[in-house]
Symmetry: C3
Subunit: 216 residues, 3 copies
């Protein structure tokens, strides 16, 4: 993490949220890996990918090299534990899929606001910092889907990227308005999670163009 003027409370908050989000994302990677009948190492690899690729992409793009997921080993360890959990308790987890979807919304919100804040801390302009927050949230899931041979689901009509973007945007707007990062991060995460839950439980969807389809 970059040295900033954040208070110890904000730093500890970010750490806890970051680790929690990492674990939840690792579960989502492991679940798809087992479903696709990947072997143990494929499952662990996919857990690791979902957990860290969004953050690694952000770090490469903002110049925070080597990325935190490489220099600090706990991201790796958390991701592996998440992968092992899905490998051994897959049937139990599939019964919890609805709850995991809710947890995933929480992870998305956490990653989006942490990603946007880190980009701001590295001097990226607020507009692109919001985008980088979104990318931190959705990057791992996109590569997960690509590696499993599927079109990334974030591109197809579900409110997922938009929720992440909302979270990142709140942090960026908070920065422009000189609001304390701890407040704007909590607000941003709440906005992202709320929007995502509305998508899950109310079926909210992003608009699709009236035309298109492969028959064109």
């Amino acid at each position: 993490m970059v040295e900033t003027a954040h208070s110890p409370f904000v730093k500890d908050l970010i750490t806890v949220l970051d680790w929690g989000g990492t674990f939840i994302f690792a579960l989502s990677g492991g679940l798809l890996g087992v479903k696709k009948r990947f072997d143990l190492f494929g499952v662990l690899f996919l857990s690791f990918v979902v957990a860290v690729v969004g953050g690694i992409t952000r770090d490469l793009l903002i110049g925070a090299v080597p990325p935190a997921a490489i220099t600090e080993i706990h991201y790796f360890l958390i991701a592996i534990v998440g992968g092992l959990v899905t490998f051994w308790w897959y049937p139990s987890l599939t019964l919890l899929q609805r709850k995991i979807l809710v947890l995933d919304a929480v992870g998305l919100g956490l990653f989006a606001v942490i990603g946007a804040q880190k980009a701001i801390d590295f001097g990226i302009n607020p507009l692109m910092a919001g985008i980088l927050g979104m990318l931190t949230g959705i990057g791992g899931g996109m590569l997960r889907d690509l590696l499993a041979g599927e079109v990334p689901f974030v591109l197809k009509g579900d409110i997922y990227a938009l929720a992440a973007l909302t979270g990142g945007a709140v942090v960026s707007i908070g920065h422009v308005m000189a609001i304390s990062p701890s407040i704007s991060m909590l607000l941003g995460a709440a906005a992202c999670i709320l929007l995502r839950l509305l998508a899950i439980f109310r079926g909210w969807r992003a608009p699709v163009a009236r035309w298109g389809g492969d028959h064109d």
Copy 2:
């Protein structure tokens, strides 16, 4: 952009070409996104990807971090406008597909020579600078196809990567021969565009091995 000895004219020329190429590439991303029935955010994401991923990859590889597409917001804004245009006027654009293919050839030429020149400005050797020019031109389209669940079309028998490589190579050769960058960039772009148009209108194709096929 790196500080170089380029004249103001060359700098302005590069800027105009760069923005024009970005817009054209964003259109090509948006068109595939609408065709694949991605939602609005998927379409905008794909526009952004095609417009900036080639340049971002080049910048990461030459050490120009953070990449220009992150530190400067106009790439993002241009890409979003391109995506919105395709989202709202998709049917009109499909009628113009032939013309868009020609514009895409122009975008390819521009990106290839700009990419090669930037690599040279960062001290990369001319051979790899030519390759990086090609990568700047084709990188966005490759990821576009991957995200849409297709094998990148640049790999399959159309003269596209070769045209981009030609553009980059002319810039590299010009550098070795100490020709003014403005001249070699115009020549390189012209060569790339000409080769690409011959491929489109005359059906020129790169050779395929006599063997192969999935039945092996």
Copy 3:
């Protein structure tokens, strides 16, 4: 390459192994390219990708920018030669597929130990250095499969990533135990190659979860 305390013998050894691995990996890329009926440039591109993407990813992640495969042209030249060989002599090479699989095991072992050692030389902690060694070995093949429209085979039940990880881990453990890098690299490469050959000739496979499959 980073300046380290390695003896000239170790340096020369690394260079020879590195070039040999690059060539073998280029062959594997070219073979899939011809099989998928890519054109000449698609075949050469795939050869280049398999040969350098693992190392480029490692270099970006450890902060060795620009990556060696960009600043030094022999990686490119070796990859192109490998691609041309497969393009012209594909039928002969397919007859040698079993032997190429053995050579590929050797390339995997070399890339894994070189990658881990370079990460250690750049100050990455040993645990993640072992992972980066694995990534150096499998990264190119993963992107090769993705570009060819297939799920990366390293994720699906064959002992490949595990062999690469073993090679990287031996180097990391050797570093922690203060063993000379030349010895731990040779041991690591041998362990990786042995494990891979057992997978090829004895059918050893990594475990798959009892559940899963798309019918869930």
